[in-house]
Amino acid sequence: MTTPLIKAHGLRKQFISYKKNPGIMGSFTSFFKRNPVYKDAVKGFNLEVNKGEIVGLLGPNGAGKTTLMKMFTGIIVPTEGELKILGSNPWERDKNFRKRIALVMGQKSQLWWDIPAMDSFLLLQKYYEVSNDHFKQRIDKMSSLLGVEELLHIHVRKLSLGERMKMELMASLLHNPEVIFLDEPTIGLDLVAQENIRNFIKDYHRETDCGIIITSHYMQDVNALCDRLVLIFDGEKGYDGTLEDFEDILGSDKSVSFSFKEAQNLEHPLFQGLDTTWNDERTNVDIRLPEEDLCLLSAKIISDLPVEDFATEKLPIERVMKELMNNPEILRQRRGSLKSV
């Protein structure tokens, strides 16, 4: 049996902040008496990730995703629990451990702004003890894959967000890390740049079979990259399983939408007994129906009614995610029912 790349058990992180009443009086009284507020950003978190897995760590803002990433990379120390990354305690920050991991933060640049990316790469080459041949080969390959050969010698602050993100990715992969933590790597990027980054990550994963943990609010990222999802709500794990199972959390029904040339009669026999959502003009309908009925019903509607356009749902994960964020209770109930089984 191989050792898991990541093993977390009963992981907890508590932050302390101090409450201050507004205004000058609030500031003044807080000089003498501070009211601490304790918050468990992560609690009782268990996770095991094996070599070659790409795990999407999802959850609403403030759920604890980034806190987990910080603990996994050794930036912050867990309050409680056991955590091993590649067999090491990350917060001990052993140099050999640090050479085997990488972190990319979409919202925070790790490159030095006042110098060209190539200078940062040269610095990282030394830090990670990458041989000259390997360095050259990696830079050539990655820069051509990402189409940034011409930008390597430009000051980082002059690059666009998308270009900078590509450089950030290059910087983090120079040393062939075995586990990569990607914290919202596509945030703020245009669609083309997002796709470039995703393809690049996929290529790198195919080539190295590394483990990847990725957080993102873009379901396209998750859909394209992850085979497994871990959901975190309010510091606790809400779901851990495959993408397919996740899509079926709310049932295995499919969603199809039709646009019509003119307003339709809602009482039409074809729509009776179906789960439908119409727009106000009655020219567009979303229908949820069992997968086995999808083809037959679609064919009937297209032949009987003046259909202008129709589409099946591209990202069921997005709908499920939205529903769960609005109503996290569903997961608790689901966990309860799984336990009773």
Partner: protein, 271 residues
């Protein structure tokens, strides 16, 4: 600490120093002003101030200082400040507070190594600026250059003091793990040191009883002593060396302990 003293690790220090130079020289105008700024400040502030105090009577003697000697005292005070105290570690506390040190915690090169290498690189630039400033001042015929021996000893002693300042500033920086904002602490420290080290006026002008007390503190050894070396007036260096070494070692140990404890409180805010 010393297990890292391998060729590979020295290579990491060297590249950090080089990159730090690249960063310092990234903006041409800024770098140019950094080079010529101190000389301009010297002439506009220090020279004018003392010229008006002596009010044209350059032979007037204030506690053993005529105008020429007083100006030379301030020339060397300026050089000592540039080399020993130039590096304020100003960003360290802010970097901790705003969570900017996270990247350095992930690289396989320790944060203190990165910070110290950047300081070494900064010191080289400060030495160049100090040399340039001295060059301009001596061009105007104001500098009485000491013997070469005294000059070298003075430079070595000043660099040693800069190490002391570095460990002290580093300490005020890493205290941000608890205090979050430490700039006022540093301003107070610098102001007190400025007054008590002889950087504003020579300690010879202070009442004797104050100087006697000060001699038991590190302050006179930070500015007054190195100036006296540069002026070729001091022969006994050992006491200053002992005191400064003692405090440097104490601060280095405290820094190590504070970092070890503080990093556990680090929240990497804003990531």
């Amino acid at each position: 600490m010393f297990k890292d003293l391998t060729l590979t690790n020295i290579g990491k220090w060297w590249i950090t120093i080089q990159i730090s130079w690249v960063k310092h020289t990234a903006y041409r105008l800024n770098f140019f002003l950094q080079i010529i700024g101190p000389a301009l400040v010297f002439f506009f502030v220090k020279y004018n101030l003392w010229a008006s105090i002596y009010a044209g009577d350059s032979e007037q003697i204030i506690r053993g200082f005529n105008f020429e000697k007083m100006i030379n005292y301030h020339i060397w005070a300026f050089v000592v400040a540039l080399v020993a105290q130039g590096h304020g570690s100003w960003n360290l506390a802010e970097d901790i507070r705003l969570g900017r040190i996270s990247s350095y915690l992930i690289y396989p090169f320790n944060f203190w190594e990165f910070h110290t290498a950047s300081w070494l690189s900064f010191q080289v630039i400060q030495m160049i600026i100090a040399a340039f400033t001295l060059g301009i001042i001596s061009y105007f015929g104001l500098l009485i250059f000491p013997s070469f021996d005294y000059f070298l000893i003075g430079v070595a002693y000043t660099l040693f003091i800069s190490l002391f300042w570095f460990t002290l500033q580093y300490l005020t920086g890493v205290m941000a793990f608890w205090l979050e904002e430490t700039w006022i602490l540093r301003v107070m420290l610098n102001t007190v040191a400025y007054f008590l080290s002889g950087a504003i006026i020579p300690l010879d002008l202070y009442p004797k009883w104050i100087v006697d007390i000060l001699n038991y503190t590190p302050f006179p050894y930070l500015t007054y002593y190195p100036i006296k070396i540069f002026m070729g007036e001091l022969t006994n260096l050992s006491l200053g060396l002992y005191i400064i070494s003692f405090w440097t070692i104490v601060f280095a140990i405290i820094n190590h302990l504070v970092w070890k404890k503080g990093i556990k409180l680090y929240t990497a805010a804003g990531m």
